[in-house]
């Protein structure tokens, strides 16, 4: 599909180019229905390649990470073997099922293997069962068949995905499709992780994702903060420069920048110290080519807002990269985790410049976060049965459409 860019062509609506989405109000009950949530678990999350984390969390052989993935009803143990390969396992001992790496929350470390703290069974980094305490006391036990239960695991551009099916319907490459082939060109290796924010939020995961996948709210919610850097006189509502919706469920929207915005003094300082990029300062992007982003080559471009289906936001620009996970916990609880990456810097000046972006971002994020529980609590009343979605919210519309498609698919 070839969609013309449309900041100027504002009479042209993106939504009309995807007639399958329709233009009707979208039911809100899917955000409060426990039955729908269970279907999301069984028919969507348990059957989809899910982006779990980046491989920089396991930089060396022997590194391991544990993620508690409530929506899969499991604890996932990722380990990088001596062969350098990252494998995923259910973090559950083959003896009686205790967590091999115990505890809740995220765990990480470096080890030669794993010892279950209950009765001492040991596993190597490849998941093989190495030793059973007092093995002779068991009956016909075959260690070679009792390795940690693997989970399908694939890596794309340093992004680790897992798939909980015994036999996934498709390869990771197929699941990422054209979106993956295009975004693969983005130079992720030029960015470093600067911090991680997380919180438990009492809202449905889709309510959380929605607030971060549309930019219609920028003019109001970020009216004091980000709006001036993004929305301009010629594009006051921040109409999208480009939209692509992919059959696999991923989506991509290119957001505008206000090139005549004059950044505040500390931001200008940061631009000077970092030699360019800043969250609050965008320059003519037709002057610089960024592989895997700004597909239309728009000059007034700020960043691409991608959603890796179903539950992760990925922002890419030359100023910053963000991943935000919205992990479903229950119908009205979400575990939110944001990772901020900035252009790698080894100088003190660059480090100080990075701090400016970090400070700017977390204020904007907190503006977004405040809406989530405010929305969810009142939704429970059932008073609002439908959401009205404008063209700028096409990503939200696509999101509900794609989730529903999975829920209603034949078994």
């Amino acid at each position: 599909m070839n969609h013309p860019r449309s900041a100027e062509l504002s009479s042209q609506k993106w939504t009309l180019q995807y007639p399958e989405l329709g233009t009707d109000p979208v039911p809100h009950s899917v955000n409060t229905s426990a039955a729908y949530f269970e279907k999301e678990r069984e028919k969507l999350f348990k059957r989809t390649w899910l982006f779990l984390c980046r491989d920089d969390e396991l930089p060396r052989p022997g590194c391991y990470v544990v993620k508690q993935v409530a929506i899969l009803e499991t604890s996932v143990l990722l380990a990088r073997g001596n062969d350098g390969i990252i494998r995923a396992f259910h973090n559950s001992c083959r003896h009686r099922g205790n967590k091999v790496v115990m505890g809740g929350g995220e765990k990480s470390g470096e080890s030669k293997g794993f010892i279950c703290g209950f009765h001492g069974w040991t596993y190597d980094l490849q998941g093989k069962l190495k030793n059973i305490v007092d093995e002779e006391d068991f009956f016909d036990i075959d260690k070679s068949k009792l390795g940690l239960k693997p989970i399908h695991c694939g890596v794309w551009r340093g992004f680790i995905f897992i798939n909980a099916m015994d036999t996934p319907h498709e390869t990771l490459e197929e699941a990422l499709g054209q979106w993956g082939r295009d975004v693969a060109a983005f130079p992720f290796e030029n960015f470093e992780l600067v911090n991680v924010y997380s919180a438990n939020i009492r809202c449905n995961w889709k309510i959380a994702l929605d607030a971060f996948q549309e930019n219609y709210h920028v003019q109001t919610l970020h009216g004091r903060s980000a709006a001036a850097a993004l929305n301009s006189k010629s594009n006051p509502f921040g109409h999208l420069l480009d939209v692509r919706l992919f059959p696999e469920g991923h989506r991509q929207a290119a957001l505008p920048a206000n090139l005549s915005f004059e950044p505040a003094p500390a931001v200008q300082m940061a631009v000077k110290y970092a030699g360019g990029a800043n969250v609050y300062a965008y320059s003519d992007s037709s002057q610089r080519k960024i592989s895997g982003a700004n597909r239309t080559g728009s000059s007034d471009w700020s960043f691409d807002l991608n959603v890796i289906f179903p539950h992760v936001q990925l922002i890419v620009s030359d100023a910053f990269v963000l991943t935000q996970h919205y992990w479903p916990v229950s119908v009205d609880e979400t575990y939110w985790e944001l990772r901020q990456y900035l252009p790698i810097s080894t100088s003190v000046a660059g480090r100080i410049a990075q701090q400016n972006s970090q400070a700017a971002l977390r204020d904007v994020i907190r503006e977004d976060l405040v809406t989530l529980e405010n929305t969810q609590t009142v939704l429970r009343s059932g008073a609002i049965t439908h959401m009205q979605l404008c063209d700028s919210e096409i990503t939200v519309r696509h999101s509900y459409y794609k989730v529903d498609e999975r829920i209603n698919a034949p078994d």
Binding site: V348, R351, Q355, R366, V370
Partner: protein, 117 residues
């Protein structure tokens, strides 16, 4: 006892006032619990001094910042953390209602000198 290089002795009062904090989360809390008068004083005093501070600190790469330079670095980072209060919000914190920062768990990267041990 002064903690800053003598060229920056005039900023010592901000170290005394607890701004030279190594951790982002602590600086952030310091910011949102300040009065706007305090923010203004800190911001306006540091703004014209930042170039000199950065030039001084930039004598070494980030991996080799000597111990004696670190309080000055923390002040410079605090300046960036505080800047949106004055430049964007004209208030220490975002206007109500806010998502409380204590609900946000933060994992910060270590400084290179913290990794050495």
């Amino acid at each position: 006892m002064p903690t800053l290089p003598k060229e920056f002795a005039d900023l010592e009062r901000f170290v005394t006032a607890g701004w030279a904090l190594p951790r982002e989360h602590a600086r952030w809390k310091r910011r949102v619990t300040s009065s706007i008068a305090e923010i203004k004083d800190f911001y306006e005093t540091l703004l014209p001094r930042m170039d000199a501070m950065v030039k001084y600190l930039d004598r070494h790469p980030l991996s080799e910042v000597p111990e004696g330079d670190r309080p000055l670095l923390y002040l410079a980072l605090a300046f960036m953390d505080v800047s949106p209060s004055w430049e964007v919000f004209h208030a220490a914190d975002l206007p109500e209602p806010v998502f409380e920062i204590d609900r946000m768990h933060i994992v910060e990267r270590p400084y290179p000198w913290e990794l050495a041990t």
